[in-house]
């Protein structure tokens, strides 16, 4: 497990030595929210949430969790504001949360539509 972090550190060191200053400027290598820091990789991981939510479109609507959809939408909406306020400003986090809010809203719409077209389910579910 720790082998991965060693690999990552080696890759960063190689990048530090091999990239020319011009190249570093283009890819923003030394930016505080750049590839060397968690501020970059954590929001990149959050795209997997957007992808998983998007792939849930293939699941039938009665198999979606209402609680999770509401919390995904709320977290996406509030975090898109939060990401512009923290230090350093994190545009990747902003973008991913906008998309997460859309995915959450889309799941909510599917659940609402399913319950509207199937009133017997809507009356029996506790939530």
């Amino acid at each position: 497990m720790f082998l991965l972090s060693d690999l990552y550190r080696v890759a960063i060191n190689v990048g530090d030595r091999a990239l020319s200053p011009g190249m570093k400027k283009i890819v923003k290598w030394d930016h505080p929210a750049g590839m060397k820091y968690i501020h970059f990789w954590a929001p990149l991981m959050k795209w997997s949430l957007v992808g998983a939510g998007f792939s849930d479109m293939l699941r039938p609507a009665n198999k979606l969790s209402l609680n999770q959809s509401i919390s995904l939408f709320a977290t996406g909406a509030i975090w898109s504001r939060y990401s512009m306020v923290i230090v350093p400003k994190n545009y990747m986090l902003f973008a991913v949360n906008i998309f997460l809010a859309f995915v959450g809203a889309q799941q909510l719409a599917r659940i609402a539509h399913y319950r509207y077209t199937h009133p017997e389910v809507a009356s029996t579910t506790k939530n």
């Binding site: 959050k46 699941r59 999770q68 919390s71 977290t75 509030i78």
Partner: protein, 136 residues
């Protein structure tokens, strides 16, 4: 003892506390608490509604954000606690899903022949209905 209580209450009524409670630094993590609370509420429900892709994605996401919360300036321990709780909840949901899917007798595949070894297999899952629900 009384002075401790009165000092505690005074610090809660101070301007820093009010500023903190009005800041996005507080309400961002509060919104994020929705995720672990949703997972804990779903623990009582049918494991059918667990989405395995979403659960695995949330596990990795909370792992990374636990570190993010401690590295961002200023440190956000509320966010850290939220992701710690989420990690635990999502791992529990993942375990429930795996148990539900693979824990019992597996339905026989088409190529298998009934024999003593698969005598206690579950009935095959119902085929998808011929008329899927159409939108209004």
């Amino acid at each position: 003892m009384a002075s401790l209580v009165s000092r505690g209450i005074a610090s809660l009524k101070s301007k820093e506390t009010r500023d903190y409670l009005m800041s996005t630094h507080f309400w961002g993590p509060v919104a994020n608490w929705g995720l672990p609370l949703a997972a804990i509420a779903d623990l009582k429900k049918d494991p059918d509604i667990i989405s395995p892709k979403m659960t695995v994605a949330l596990c990795f996401y909370s792992m990374l954000f636990m570190r993010f919360a401690l590295q961002v300036k200023p440190k956000n321990r509320l966010l850290f606690a939220c992701h710690l709780a989420n990690e635990a909840a999502q791992l529990t949901q993942l375990a429930r899903y795996i148990n539900h899917k693979y824990g019992g007798p597996q339905p026989m595949k088409q190529y298998q022949v009934p024999s003593k070894s698969n005598a206690t297999t579950a009935p095959p899952p119902p085929p998808p209905s011929a008329q899927p629900a159409r939108s209004a």
